[in-house]
């Protein structure tokens, strides 16, 4: 999918690039199902235990979650600008923007790690160290299970994205991309922006709960 030359089953590089993008869209459809079913299970319990989820959500750190969302949104911008730079044959800008994208992704992971540490300090890790706050009962643990599974899987996806962007960075600095050949950038750009979208929904699941009083 990422080799530079035209493969034998294609007639021209436009067909090849379009096809690669289509492939990524199909993959994104499967990712929607993957995260969608997790959010589905969350919704079932949220409807069943509204009060408990409110209490549990109250203990999440909305400031960190928001900072992270801002980081991701910005990284999506730099990623799409990187693709644009390649199309305009601006090699220095391309390398720079890819670098910024990866850095923003790493910053997200850093903040996330810090947030996990704070969750642990607040005794919100089921089984390992979990203390019920006043009014809380067992279903709050379901909320925290969901929290760790969902954000963990998202972090794994993001790490894969960072690795891919770093590969692109190396290849871009070797001058691999040109206005005539940017399919890998387009494809990985799609992936990157999609991982960003997943976060929008996780944010809506986790952080706004239980902030406004009953």
């Amino acid at each position: 999918m990422f080799s530079g030359r035209l493969q034998e089953q294609y007639t021209d590089s436009t067909q090849q690039s379009e096809t690669a993008q289509l492939g990524m869209w199909v993959f994104i459809a499967t990712e929607v199902m993957f995260f969608g079913v997790l959010i589905f299970s969350y919704m079932i319990y949220r409807v069943a235990y509204p009060e408990q989820f409110r209490l549990a959500g109250h203990d999440s750190f909305i400031l960190l979650g928001s900072i992270n969302q801002a980081l991701l949104i910005t990284s999506s911008l730099t990623m799409v600008l990187a693709v644009r730079a390649a199309k305009a044959d601006q090699q220095r800008a391309l390398v720079l923007l890819l670098g910024v994208t990866a850095a923003l992704g790493l910053a997200f992971l850093g903040v996330k790690g810090f947030e996990y540490a704070k969750d642990a300090a607040a005794h919100s890790v089921p089984v390992v160290d979990y203390i019920f706050k006043p009014g809380e009962h067992r279903p709050t643990e379901i909320f925290w299970c969901f929290y760790f599974v969902a954000t963990g899987l998202h972090a794994i996806h993001l790490s894969v994205g960072i690795a891919l962007v770093l590969i692109l960075l190396v290849r871009a600095s070797q001058g691999a991309f040109s206005p005539g050949y940017d399919a890998p950038l387009e494809v990985i750009g799609l992936y990157w922006s999609f991982v960003d979208c997943v976060w929008f929904f996780l944010f809506a699941c986790i952080y706004p709960l239980g902030r406004a009083g009953p």
């Binding site: 493969q7 089953q9 289509l22 492939g23 199909v26 993957f34 079913v37 299970s41 089984v127 279903p139």
Partner: protein
């Protein structure tokens, strides 16, 4: 038929088999045909592992006291049997081998859209297969292939996490292959190959791939949640936390019912090819067959609750799911009737692939009709989780899909290897499969109605007769399945050379040499015809690129 006939001027290019001989040229190939062979080898290994477990199951059930194996061992046997057969054999069987080999050929492409992804898919499959073998060696697990909560996370004794990981990785291999098929079908069709000129096998693989793409991620997530719950000790299905075990069933069957159509749709595609070719008559209702495939794929997503009729879902939803289960059977009925109608006004020769195909139609119909009985709400209260269910799905999956798989394998064997298999032996094997199959699984319907629950290592003594019959049948079946392994292997070295189109079939895959060259076609074919332009009056046919031929002499293959 000379090389000129099939539009290949000059020297015949070297076949994909003869390109290179090193191991690396196989393991790192990006040729869809070689990858198909790689898959073929892998899943054959798993078929025999799963079949070995089946043999042990039937051995245990010879005796009502169930003294051969400890209960723990028996539970691990059927779990391993189910997991291996479903995920490591049947789901990849037709798509990843025949599909991989034939899809590009039938649409007139040089390869799939993403050859590296294709190889990656096989590597993932192998990796998951190694996990599965590791899993078997460390003793397996005892949850059944359904991993029901909360048993699998908090109570099971075996290696649930290892099993879940194996299936999880396997799922991504499935997704990669399906993605490749979908994109290739959209983008790489030869000029003139419109949607309604696609062979039904391509339609079937396409429909299957759509189901794989939309369903498999759900399984991946569900099993990930099970593994995490088991590892961590708490999780979202745990009733102690207020979790709902039935939610797990919803999520599992949202995948697993569509998955049973993943297992049957490709078989339907294969059988459609075989029936028309050997009946030398165009398929009856080609478009109806296409729509039926797609509607099975779609409606198949709305019926999952029929596995949960007795599990405590609401009565309203049980009624709804029962209704949908009946509706999804309508397109299957269309297919059965169309296959039968194709035989009308035809010119049938009973070569081994056709025998397998006829066996498929019969056994699938029995399996499908008993599926309807299970979908009838009142009947399912009695029959749920009994041997009736076991018989139902073996009829469809073994009598149906496995037969179709063997039929397709024989049919395309000359294309894949360039060699003819010994026809007489193959017919014996096909007939033996049919006989052995019915011996094995017909008694199980009776056992089920008499109330023998599944997953029992011991049973009431008055049921022994039926169980003995079933075990006896299974030993016939084992022979019938071992036979092709022997003579197909033999034909690799001693088989007669096959021409490019030994059966006189119309598809593009027959318009290149056997075995095909690495690039598939010397030059991209241009499609001008509908598929299946056979003439029953004299057996002549017109290939999809518009060349008319007389009926081939099938030699020993004619009746």
């Amino acid at each position: 038929m000379s090389a000129v006939d099939i539009g290949m001027a000059g020297a015949v290019p070297r076949s994909y088999l003869g390109e290179e001989y090193t191991l690396a040229s196989w393991l790192f190939t990006r040729d869809h045909k070689r990858i198909a062979i790689l898959f073929f080898v892998s899943i054959t290994v798993f078929f025999f592992i799963g079949g070995f477990a089946a043999a042990l199951i039937r051995l245990q059930l010879l005796n009502p006291a169930g003294t051969l194996f400890q209960p723990e061992v028996y539970n691990r046997l059927f779990t391993m049997h189910g997991i291996v057969m479903v995920w490591f054999f049947l789901i990849p069987s037709i798509p990843a081998t025949l599909g991989n080999f034939l899809l590009p050929l039938q649409i007139g492409a040089r390869d799939l859209a993403f050859p590296r992804l294709n190889l990656f898919s096989w590597s993932l499959f192998t990796f998951s297969g190694l996990w599965a073998i590791y899993f078997i060696f460390i003793g397996g697990n005892d949850t059944g292939w359904t991993f029901y909560e909360p048993y699998s996370s908090n109570f099971a004794n075996g290696h649930v996490i290892v099993a879940a990981v194996a299936v999880f990785i396997n799922g991504f291999s499935t997704i990669a292959t399906a993605l490749n098929f979908v994109v290739s079908t959209h983008r790489l069709r030869a000029p003139g190959m419109t949607w309604f000129r696609l062979p039904l096998f391509v339609w079937a693989i396409y429909a299957t791939s759509i189901v794989m793409l939309l369903a498999t991620p759900v399984l991946a997530m569900t099993l990930a949640l099970v593994a995490i719950e088991r590892f961590w000790g708490v999780g979202i299905f745990n009733p102690v936390l207020g979790g709902d075990p039935i939610l797990f069933q919803h999520m599992f069957w949202f995948y697993s019912h569509p998955a049973v159509y993943i297992m049957i749709l490709p078989a339907m595609g294969v059988v459609s090819e075989l029936v028309t070719c050997f009946a030398r008559c165009p398929i009856f209702g080609y478009k109806g067959m296409c729509y039926a495939l797609i509607s099975i794929a779609i409606i198949g997503f709305f019926v999952w609750g029929h596995h949960m009729f007795t599990a405590g879902i609401s009565l309203t939803s049980a009624v709804f799911f029962s209704l949908m289960s009946f509706i999804v059977a309508v397109p299957s009925a269309i297919k059965v009737f169309n296959w039968t109608a194709t035989l009308h006004n035809s010119r049938i020769s009973f070569d081994a692939p056709m025998l397998y195909a006829l066996g498929f139609v019969g056994l699938f119909t029995i399996g499908g009709l008993t599926g309807l009985i299970l979908a009838t709400l009142s009947a399912d209260i009695h029959l749920q989780d009994t041997y009736f269910v076991i018989a139902h799905f073996h009829f469809i999956m073994v009598g149906g899909t496995v037969s179709a798989y063997f039929g397709g394998l024989h049919y395309w064997w000359p294309k894949i290897t360039g060699k003819r298999y010994p026809e007489m032996w193959a017919r014996y094997a096909a007939i033996l499969t049919f006989v052995g199959f019915n011996f094995t699984f017909l008694p199980q319907f009776i056992l089920g109605y008499l109330g023998m629950p599944r997953r029992y290592y011991t049973y009431a003594p008055d049921l022994q007769t039926w169980n003995v019959l079933s075990s006896a049948g299974a030993s016939i079946l084992a022979v019938a399945y071992a036979l092709p392994l022997i003579y197909l292997g033999w034909s690799l070295f001693h088989g007669k050379r096959a021409g490019p189109n030994p059966w006189g079939a119309t598809g593009l895959e027959w318009r290149t040499s056997s075995p095909p060259p690495k690039q598939n076609f010397p030059r991209t074919p241009v499609v001008t015809e509908l598929p299946y332009r056979y003439d029953p009056r004299d057996g002549s046919y017109t290939t999809q690129d518009g060349v008319h031929f007389a009926e081939p002499t099938l030699g020993e293959a004619s009746v």
